[in-house]
């Protein structure tokens, strides 16, 4: 039982890093997605490179580059800042692709219908295509968010006091190596399951509405 209270101490940090990273990713992912969809090579080529590079290097390597590399030699960041920033940038890349496929899934006839009605490109995007794309992208985005909750465990490697960090500390302190990590696993499952259920419910509700 004492393992439980010890490992639970990490929950706020896990949630904090996950939420901040998601917020960064949700915001930065949008311009990245729009640039990626642009017909202009000066926009879509760099966007593609940024997305591929962010997604092509393991998260823990990014965190090390930011925390040990940039942190030691350029600007100093504390572990939470480095962790949130690193995961935030990676999330931006993944979410950009999710937004992009959401936009791609909206029938091109919707653009044509909007412009036939005289709506500007911006209006078409904000009022017609965007909301539909949002619905399409939401399930994938929530799946990503649930995955991020688990993947955020890598921030323990740069010293953020999250669930895994606490489990490691507890196992060192008590000499019990199995229990703390089993507790950690259980906590991740308990945190993730309600989110998964909620997203599945939301998904089916939205799908019903779109289908009608």
């Amino acid at each position: 039982m004492e393992h439980v209270s010890a490992v639970l101490l990490g929950v706020p940090y896990t949630l904090l890093v996950t939420v901040v990273a998601l917020a960064i990713g949700a915001v930065l992912g949008l311009p990245l997605a729009l640039a990626r969809r642009s017909p202009l090579a000066v926009l879509n080529v760099p966007a593609r490179v940024v997305i591929d590079v962010l997604r092509g290097i393991p998260p823990v390597v990014w965190l090390f580059i930011i925390f040990f590399g940039i942190g030691n030699q350029f600007v100093t960041l504390d572990p939470i800042q480095a962790g949130s920033l690193g995961l935030g940038l990676i999330s931006a890349a993944y979410l950009a692709e999710i937004y992009r496929s959401g936009l791609g899934a909206v029938h091109s006839g919707q653009w044509e219908a909007s412009s036939a009605l005289g709506l500007s490109r911006t209006d078409s995007m904000v009022r017609v295509v965007g909301p539909q794309a949002f619905r399409v992208a939401l399930p994938a985005a929530s799946t990503y968010a649930i995955g991020l909750l688990k993947d955020s465990s890598v921030v323990s490697a740069i010293g953020v006091a999250d669930i895994v960090f606490q489990a490691t500390g507890d196992s060192r302190a008590t000499g019990a190596a199995l229990a703390p990590f089993l507790v950690a696993a259980a906590i991740y499952i308990l945190l993730g399951t309600p989110l998964a259920i909620a997203s599945r419910r939301m998904d089916s509700r939205l799908r019903m509405r779109v289908a009608r």
Partner: protein
């Protein structure tokens, strides 16, 4: 600094190259063990018998709900407490194979479900058993449909080998980190490690895209 960087990179490359080999090997072993288990789980989860289906679903959900890092710690640090001590490479292979099995079972199940229902009916109408329908109709096509997603997952698994850093397996990230800690040129050496990861993940990513287009053309 640029000339410096280049000469440093050339100096580190042999060491990091060996680390990359270990990472690739670890990913290959984990996938080779994990995917067949994933297929088995997918078949069990698709079973019509609740007594088989339910425990399989629970197993898969536990496997998917637990971060790979935690599974790794459990296997490497935890199992010795239960009387089973594994070396870093074996422990990492086992842990990543478990994660692979759980995730790929869902990918493969998706593939199995994507096989048109009419083909299952056609097999039934021909008098074929559930087993034979699974073996000759559903699995071959479901696996083919799942290939792009499986390759995509394989790329993520390759990236996940970097987690073995935490159990001091001498893979790419560990080697880069120890060079960093002796030279204090963390940024430079980690950047090279990043480039080496990209050298594997980017071409594999392009391959997935082409595979996806190719397969969708033929089906």
């Amino acid at each position: 600094m640029n000339a410096d960087l280049l000469s440093n990179w050339l100096e580190w490359l042999p060491d990091l190259g060996r680390g990359l080999q270990t990472s690739v090997l670890l990913a290959a072993v984990s996938l080779a063990i994990g995917i067949p288990i994933g297929l088995l789980l997918a078949v069990l989860v698709s079973s019509r018998r609740a007594a088989i289906r339910m425990p399989s679903i629970v197993l898969v959900e536990i496997g998917r709900g637990t971060p790979a890092l935690v599974v790794l710690q459990l296997v490497y640090f935890g199992l010795p407490n239960a009387g089973l001590t594994l070396g870093p490479f074996t422990a990492a292979s086992a842990a990543l194979a478990l994660t692979t099995a759980a995730y790929t079972s869902e990918i493969i199940r998706g593939g199995l479900e994507a096989v048109p229902k009419g083909e299952v009916e056609a097999s039934q109408a021909l008098g074929m058993s559930y087993r034979d329908t699974m073996r000759f109709v559903l699995i071959p096509q479901g696996m083919r449909i799942a290939i792009p997603a499986l390759v995509g997952f394989g790329i993520l698994m390759f990236q996940a080998t970097s987690l073995a850093f935490t159990i001091s397996l001498q893979e790419l990230l560990s080697r880069a980190y120890s060079i960093g800690s002796s030279t204090f040129l963390y940024f430079q050496v980690l950047l090279l490690a990043g480039v080496l990861y990209l050298a594997i993940t980017l071409p594999s990513g392009w391959l997935t895209g082409r595979l996806e287009r190719r397969l969708s053309r033929h089906l």
